[in-house]
Structure formats: structure tokens, C-alpha cells
């Protein structure tokens, strides 16, 4: 044992936490080394001085403050809590849904209501015209066929018949 090795053994020696073998080694060194012996005595004195400081306790309000802060902590919930919306979120979602339905069901510009009515009337009129055209479609097709019927154009032109004069009254 030398003085350098005492660095790691001196505190455990003073605490009484060395094994019997190591303690004997330290004691043999101390018997031969006056400097380490003095150091051991002075370390003991330091430990005694540190023990003179009184313990500092918490103030009377300490417990109450801790309890208040703990009570203010949010409660921990299970995984299913994620599925359960909080009342505020549920209320906000319901309100938003009502608002969207209401806005969607009303005219976008109440000041231009006649304009929208006119557009609706025009659309209805257009539908009627389309219906009439579809109804008359066979006649129109016949006309088209006759107008473009080529054999008719190759027929000799007949002189115009004089229009019989109507008897004079």
C-alpha cells in the first residue's frame, strides 16, 4: 500500500466499509505514514464539522403547495379516452355541422333573388323548347330527306302550268 492508493480507500475506511483485508492494508500503511495518519485524523474532524450543520426542513405550507400542484395535474386516462371526444369538441363539431347545412340550404345572394328566378324560368323554357323539337323530330327528318333526295333533282322540269284564271264573276 502506498499514499496514492489511499485516495480510493480513505473515505471507505472512515465509513467502515472496507473489507477486513483492505482495512488491514490501510492500517499497516497508516502505522508507517505520518502524513496519511494526519490526513485521516483531519478528515474525521471535517466529517465532524459537517455534522454540526442542522437539517433544514420545509416550511409549513410546503405539503399544501405540493398537494395543490398534484391536484392540478390532468388525470391520466386509458387508450379508449382517445375515442371519446371532449364535450367542448363534440359541441363545436355539432355547431359546425348545423352551420354548414344552414349555409348550404339558403341562396348565396339574397339581394339577387329575381335574377335567380329568371334563370330558373329560362331553364324551364329551354326544356319546353327541347321537348317540342324532339316531338317534331320525325317531320323534320322527312323534310330533310325530301329536300336532299337526289332522284328528285334529275326529274325533267315540267313547264309551269298557267294558272287557270278564275272565271270572272
Amino acid at each position: 500500500m502506498n499514499c496514492a492508493r489511499m485516495e480510493k480507500r480513505l473515505i471507505p475506511y472512515l465509513d467502515g466499509r472496507l473489507s477486513a483485508r483492505k482495512r488491514r492494508g490501510v492500517e499497516e500503511h497508516l502505522a508507517a505514514c505520518a502524513a496519511c495518519r494526519l490526513r485521516v485524523d483531519e478528515f474525521r474532524a471535517v466529517a465532524g464539522l459537517l455534522g454540526e450543520l442542522p437539517q433544514i426542513g420545509p416550511s409549513g405550507a410546503f405539503d399544501a403547495r405540493v398537494r395543490t400542484r398534484v391536484a392540478a395535474e390532468p388525470r391520466q386516462q386509458g387508450w379508449w379516452a382517445w375515442l371519446m371526444p371532449s364535450p367542448r369538441v363534440a359541441f363545436a363539431a355539432a355547431l359546425l355541422t348545423v352551420l354548414v347545412v344552414w349555409v348550404g340550404s339558403r341562396p348565396t345572394d339574397p339581394d339577387n333573388y329575381p335574377y335567380h328566378q329568371a334563370r330558373a324560368d329560362a331553364a324551364a323554357q329551354s326544356q319546353d323548347d327541347d321537348f317540342q323539337m324532339i316531338k317534331d323530330l320525325p317531320v323534320l327528318e322527312d323534310y330533310d330527306v325530301l329536300a336532299n333526295f337526289e332522284p328528285l333533282s334529275s326529274l325533267p322540269q315540267q313547264p309551269e302550268q298557267p294558272v287557270a284564271e278564275s272565271p270572272q264573276m
Binding site: 473515505i11 471507505p12 474532524a45 464539522l49 454540526e52 433544514i56 426542513g57 420545509p58 410546503f62 403547495r65
Partner: protein, 198 residues
Amino acid sequence: MMDVKAGDAQSFELLLQRYRTPLVNFLCRMVRDRAQAEDLAQEVFLRVYRARKDYVPSAKFTTWLFRIATNLALNAVRDGRHRQMEISIDEPMTADAEDGTERMLDLADRRPDIEQHLVEEARRAMIRRAIDKLPEKQRVAVLLHKYQELDYSEIGKILQCSESALKSLLFRAYEALRVELAPLVAQSQGQVQKGRVQ
């Protein structure tokens, strides 16, 4: 702590009763301000409460508790939030560790005269200053070793160093204190010598 983890509020109350005084004492010596030490101790308990569901008993509860406290204290010291005031943190007020009630000790019962009281106060102030002068890590090691009586492995885990390194750290801390408190040490040695002679 396992009961606290299981949701037993009564067990948290027991932890509070048992560890509030050691925690406040430790934090007071670290940040040198009683009000801040109490705030930090509250924060420690709050963190314990928040972490109760995730607590795994891989180490002693005290190791975990003082590791939280040490981290908070070192952050507070490094942030410079502590006040550099010479306040009397060792005022004659003490808390009964058993029931937590505070009481003022009767000065007349403890100290026969005012002169003796002043001498004792001067000694304590000197000891406090010597502790305050220690580097942060050495101070933590001495406080946990001397006042909390934690074993080397626990302190090593708190300071994240090996047992061997911790023993060297403590040696250097006591060496620094021996130098700083030389007059008081010599006084104590003189009394010891006188006692041996008599």
C-alpha cells in the same frame, strides 16, 4: 412507489412525508436559497407523480429521487437563478422528520449565553462557505454522502460515474474542505489532543 404507480394516493402522501425534509435540506445546500429549494423540491415531487405510471424499479427509489433533485439543482445553479445572498438558511428552525411539524427551538435551552451562540453561528457560516466553495459535483457527492448517507453505488448512479471515480471525488472534496476549514480542524484536533492528555 409501486403503490403510487398502482394509483394509491395515500402512498404518494407517505412519500411526501418521508422525503420532503431530506430533499429540501439537500436542495437548500445546493442552491443556497430556501425559497428556491422549496420550489425545486415541489417540482421533484411533481415529476415523481407525473412519472409514476412509467416507473420501473430498476434502481432504488432514493437514487431516482435524488437524481431528479440533483439535475434540477445543477440546472438551477448553472442558470444562475439562485440569489447570491447570505441568507441564514440555518436559522434555528427545524422540521421534525417524523411528523413534519415545525417548531422553533428555544434558544435559551440550547445556548447558555449569546457569546456562545455567536461563536457557533460563526463556525456554521464558515462550514457553509466551505461547502459552497466546492465544485458542483464534489458538493453533490459530499451532501449525498454525509447528509443523506446514500451508499457509493447510489451516489455513483446519481452522478453517472463509477464507484471508484466517486471515491476519488469524495477524497478530493474532503481534501478541499480540510484546507478550507483548517482553523476549525486545528481547533478540533487541539481539543482531541487535550482530551487524550487529560
